[in-house]
Structures are given as structure tokens and as C-alpha cells.
């Protein structure tokens, strides 16, 4: 039973504060969405969780152990991180790319073992990328590449998967495929999945719990239906939205447009 505990995390760049007193817990088998507008500190929060950035204050623990005190390999065994972008300067094959994820499970001078190949195979199978295994990564489309990156995080065999805008730049079809894959991973493998996204429609449909971040602070937190309310949308995102339960899809957010109050404010600002 894995438990991720974020306690009182603050982070700032020299010029400005990014995160202020962020505090939450998350457990195995849940999909946790972190939502917020551009520049609100969502990605920074993910990077603080896996210790890419060190928080100025506060602590992140996995099963009671501080992430900051772990070695890089130990962190990688605990959590996989799928970033927004992939470099393709030197195009490795998909198989080689995914095999890299085994690094944290191998000793210093290990070579690929039969077991590693099996695990890579399974991850390729799970993410539907097996048929590309022999292709170079730069020959794939954005959606295919994203799935390969998830496969690579999976072979680390982590309990926690951190995803930074996994559906960004994907067409609507691939967005659903990807979110279905993520749901499957959490339900079947019992992984804790933390998704950073600004897509409210997908967050409503797929997340068990949601944390809304505004200016680096938690503005609302709880089960998805309690957070994604018409009122919160207006307050946090300046968005008019209709939220209803649809028996076909579950929680359904229909975005109507920018808030009236907000455009009023804009006009006033323009006038002055």
C-alpha cells in the first residue's frame, strides 16, 4: 500500500514564489488530477514531488520516507515521470528507449537480462506500442511517442506515476485512448497516478480526486464532483461552465465561455 504525502511544500525562484504551503495525501489506486491555469505551479509541484527541484520548505514522503533523502535510482524505482516533451536529437529505437527505463532496476555494470526484455515487452504490449518496437522514436507521431514514454516509465515498475499534461497536443481520439490506458493502469496495477492537466473536461471524466491550484496555492481539493463545480470554475478559472452527471460518461463539464464578471473587469482595465 503506497502512500504519497506532501507536507507544507513551498518553492520559489529567486524572482517570485511559485508554491505556497501545498499539502495533500494520495494513495494507491487513485487518479489524482492537479488542475490550474498556465503558470500556476502545477508542473513545479510535480518536479518537487520527484525531487527534480528541492522545495524551499516542507517535505515529500513516500510510505513515510523522505524523497529528498533517496538516491536518484531509488526515486526512479518509486515513481515514474512522463514529461511534456521528448528530445529526438539522437533517435533511438522504441525498444532501446523503453529499455532505458530499466536503468534504476539494474546494477552498475549489468547488461540487459531476459527478465528486462520480458518487462519491456509487457510495457510495450500494455501501451499498444509493440508494433513500433523496431522503429526510431523520431518516426512516430506525438501520440505514439507519448505512449512510448509511458511504457518507459512503466518498466521502472513504480508505484506512482507522475504525468505532466499527458494529453497535450494529442487529437481528441488519442486523448481518450491515452486516458483509458491511464485508467486501466490505475485499476489493474493499482498504481497511484498524478496527472497535471489544464483540460477540465478530461479531468472531470477520469480523475477520482482533483486539486485545483491557483497562484501556487491549493484553491480547492476533494472528490472530483465536489471540486469541479460551476461556482469553483468561475472563482478559479474565470470560466462559465455547466456541470452535470451524464449516465453515459459520468461527470460532464460543458464549458460555455469566459465569465461575465471577468470580461467586465477586462473592459474596465482597458478603459482605464
Amino acid at each position: 500500500m503506497v502512500e504519497l504525502d506532501i507536507e507544507d511544500v513551498c518553492f520559489s525562484y529567486p524572482s517570485r514564489d511559485i508554491l505556497k504551503d501545498v499539502e495533500f495525501k494520495a494513495e494507491q489506486g487513485e487518479i489524482l488530477g492537479i488542475i490550474g491555469q498556465n503558470g500556476c505551479g502545477k508542473t513545479t509541484l510535480l518536479k518537487c514531488i520527484n525531487s527534480t527541484l528541492s522545495p524551499k520548505k516542507g517535505i515529500v514522503t513516500v510510505d513515510g520516507k523522505a524523497v529528498e533523502s533517496m538516491t536518484k535510482k531509488e526515486i526512479a524505482r518509486n515513481m515514474g515521470f512522463v514529461m511534456q516533451t521528448t528530445s529526438t536529437t539522437f533517435p533511438f529505437t522504441v525498444y532501446e528507449t523503453v529499455m532505458m527505463g530499466r536503468y534504476s532496476r539494474q546494477d552498475a555494470l549489468d547488461t540487459e537480462k531476459e527478465e528486462d526484455t520480458r518487462i519491456v515487452y509487457q510495457a510495450l504490449q500494455d501501451t499498444g506500442t509493440l508494433k513500433f518496437a523496431d522503429r526510431d522514436i523520431d518516426e512516430l507521431s506525438g501520440g505514439e511517442r507519448r505512449r512510448v514514454m509511458i511504457a518507459r516509465a512503466l518498466v521502472q515498475e513504480p508505484d506512482i506515476l507522475l504525468l505532466d499534461e499527458p494529453t497535450l497536443h494529442l487529437d481528441i481520439n488519442h486523448q481518450f485512448d491515452l486516458m483509458d490506458l491511464i485508467t486501466k493502469l490505475s485499476r489493474e496495477k493499482g498504481m497511484l497516478i498524478v496527472i497535471v492537466t489544464h483540460d477540465l473536461v478530461l479531468a472531470a471524466r477520469y480523475c477520482d480526486r482533483v486539486i485545483a491550484i491557483e497562484h501556487g496555492e491549493i484553491a480547492a481539493m476533494g472528490p472530483t464532483r465536489d471540486v469541479l463545480t460551476t461556482e469553483n470554475m468561475r472563482r478559479i478559472f474565470d470560466i462559465e461552465a455547466e456541470v452535470n452527471e451524464d449516465p453515459r460518461v459520468g461527470l460532464n463539464v460543458t464549458i460555455l465561455g469566459k465569465s461575465k464578471a471577468d470580461s467586465e473587469k477586462d473592459r474596465q482595465r482597458a478603459a482605464s
Binding site: 539522437f90 533511438f92 555494470l109
Partner: protein
């Protein structure tokens, strides 16, 4: 080509990849052996292969023994060592900077090493402690300083852009070049001649004393590079991603810079600055077999060694007059540099 559908498909793909790797490394190693023999045969005096063998083992005419054993063999060995070292150094730098244009000359590292070495040559700095190795040690120290400097200047929070990388290489290289000129200006005639000869890059002065001077740092550098081959793969695909997968990027960066400095320093100490080998060789092999260091390192060792041995033999015996091999590699390398810029725009600039 059939699609991979099951575990057998993966096994098949791996087998094919392994076969390709064995063939590539085997082929290049064979090419190296042939090139070695040919280079031993050609020179001012052309020897037959049997004369070469006999000469190396000290059989037959004393003159031929002398040429084969004490003139040609150490020279060819040095050329092989330097070729391998510069290629591996170029490879490591390209991966570290995630840029196919990086190489010791392009980024001014060789100029830094030149300055260190010319200090040792003209002022005897370090001679008291390191003896014959003072040139290598000084070259290494300045190599390391230059590379760390270029890396620090080029690196920003958002990664390394080609423009800043090349420009910081140009700037740092120009600075050390200026310092070399200064040393030349104040040096006495003997030292001056040696420095000038040596900035052109040549194996003319290589003898058995040079072999260990090159061998020790180069061997160390290459072994270090081999040990981090997996991490280099991951870093070349993105530092932050590598860190997410458990690589201690900072340590790898330091090891890579030290390994490269050792390789370049060993090379510069015996042959001066020979340009563009570290650009051409890794690039060609990467185009042939892909970016995996497990495969690229042995290929660069054999291929780079063969390439520089052949270049040196051509420069020495291919024309009416012999000239420094550095001139030849620059004449070849600069157009190649332009060729990469023109044809691989996407990889270079993104």
C-alpha cells in the same frame, strides 16, 4: 518488413540488432587491422608486409628493423591512439551537449589544451613534478578548464542551444588561441618552433617515448567513457528525463568531462591539435548504426584509429612533399562541418 506482434517478434528484432552490431564492430575491427598493416608498409621507404613482420620482430636487415620498429611502429600506434581518443571524445561531447556539431576543435577545447601544453613547452611549467608528462598534464588541466567553461556558458535553465554552444566555443577558443600567440611571442626560438609545429598537428616527432604519454591518459579516458555508456545514452536523450529514470546527471557530467579531457590531453600531448576527427568519425558511425553508445564506442575506437592512421600515412607519403596531418584533416573536416550544417538542419538547430 513485418510488424512485431508478440514476444517472439521482440526476440527476433533483438537478434537482428545484435547480428548487425557484431557485423559492424567486426567489420570495423578488420578494417582497422588492414589499415594498420598498410600504414606500416607505406612511407618514404615502401616495405613489403613480410618485411614489416620481420622488422617488428627484429629479423633481417638492421635498417629495416630500425624503420619498422623504432620509426614507423610508434608513429602508427600514436596515430591510432589519437584517432581513437579524439573520436571517443567527440562522441562523448556530442552526447553531453546533445548536439551533433560538438567536437574538441569546434568548441575550442583543443585550443585550451594547446595553451596548457605550450606553457609546458616554453616555460617548463610542471616539468619538475611530472617530467615528460608535464605537457599532458598541462594539456589536461586546460582541457578541463576550457570544457567546463564552455559548458557553463552555453548551459541555461532551458538546456543548451546550438547557437550559444558554438559561439561560446568560438569565444573561448579565440581567447586561448590569443594566449597561445602570446606564449609564442615571448618564447625563445626553439620553443617557438616546437609550438608552431605542434599547433599544426603532426606525428613527426612520435617515438617510443611518446607512446606511454598518449596511452595512459587515453586509456583512462576511454575506460571511463565505456563505464558510463548507458548513462550517456540516457543523457543524450535528455538530461531531465535521464534524471527521472534514476541517472545522477551531475556525476555523469563530471565523469564525461574528465574522460573527454583525458582523451584530448593525451592526444594533444603527442600530436598537437588535429582537428575535426572528433566531428567526422562519430557522425558517420551514428548515421550508420544509430545513437547507441554500446555500439558507437567500439566503432569510434577502431574507426577513428584507422582513419587517423590512414590520414597520417597520406599526409606523410601520399604527395611529393610530406606535410602535417592536421592540415589534411582540417581540409577535409571543414567542408564536412558545412555539410552537416546543411543537411542535418533539424537535429542541429532544435
Amino acid at each position: 518488413m513485418s510488424e512485431i506482434k508478440d514476444y517472439e517478434g521482440i526476440q527476433e528484432f533483438r537478434k537482428k540488432a545484435r547480428r548487425k552490431a557484431v557485423m559492424a564492430v567486426g567489420g570495423t575491427a578488420l578494417f582497422f587491422v588492414v589499415a594498420f598493416l598498410l600504414c606500416m608498409c607505406f612511407g618514404n621507404y615502401v616495405m613489403s608486409p613480410s618485411e614489416v613482420f620481420n622488422g617488428i620482430f627484429g629479423i633481417g636487415d638492421a635498417g629495416i628493423v630500425q624503420i619498422a620498429r623504432n620509426v614507423r611502429l610508434p608513429r602508427v600506434l600514436c596515430a591510432a591512439l589519437v584517432g581513437a581518443a579524439l573520436s571517443v571524445a567527440g562522441l562523448t561531447m556530442q552526447s553531453l551537449f546533445k548536439n551533433p556539431m560538438a567536437s574538441p576543435t569546434v568548441l575550442g577545447i583543443s585550443h585550451g589544451a594547446s595553451f596548457g601544453a605550450s606553457m609546458a613547452i616554453s616555460f617548463g611549467i610542471g616539468a619538475g613534478v611530472f617530467g615528460t608528462y608535464s605537457t599532458s598534464v598541462m594539456a589536461f588541466v586546460f582541457c578541463f578548464i576550457t570544457m567546463a567553461l564552455v559548458y557553463a556558458i552555453a548551459r541555461t535553465r532551458y538546456g543548451i542551444s546550438t547557437v550559444t554552444l558554438l559561439l561560446s566555443g568560438v569565444a573561448v577558443g579565440a581567447f586561448f588561441n590569443g594566449l597561445v600567440s602570446l606564449v609564442q611571442y615571448v618564447a625563445d626560438d626553439d620553443a617557438l618552433q616546437e609550438i608552431v609545429f605542434w599547433t599544426m598537428g603532426s606525428f613527426n616527432k612520435c617515438n617510443w617515448d611518446s607512446v606511454p604519454v598518449a596511452l595512459i591518459p587515453i586509456l583512462l579516458g576511454i575506460v571511463m567513457t565505456v563505464l558510463i555508456n548507458r548513462e550517456l545514452n540516457m543523457v543524450s536523450a535528455g538530461e531531465e528525463q535521464a534524471a527521472n529514470m534514476g541517472v545522477n546527471v551531475r556525476n555523469i557530467r563530471i565523469i564525461a568531462i574528465v574522460a573527454t579531457s583525458l582523451c584530448v590531453a593525451g592526444s594533444v600531448a603527442v600530436s598537437g591539435t588535429i582537428g575535426f576527427v572528433g566531428l567526422i568519425i562519430p557522425h558517420v558511425f551514428r548515421m550508420l548504426v544509430g545513437p547507441n553508445h554500446r555500439l558507437l564506442i567500439p566503432l569510434c575506437i577502431f574507426g577513428g584509429a584507422a582513419f587517423l592512421m590512414i590520414m597520417d600515412t597520406i599526409a606523410k607519403a601520399g604527395f611529393e612533399m610530406s606535410f602535417p596531418v592536421g592540415v589534411l584533416t582540417s581540409l577535409l573536416g571543414a567542408p564536412f562541418f558545412i555539410y552537416i550544417l546543411k543537411t542535418r538542419k533539424k537535429e542541429v538547430w532544435e
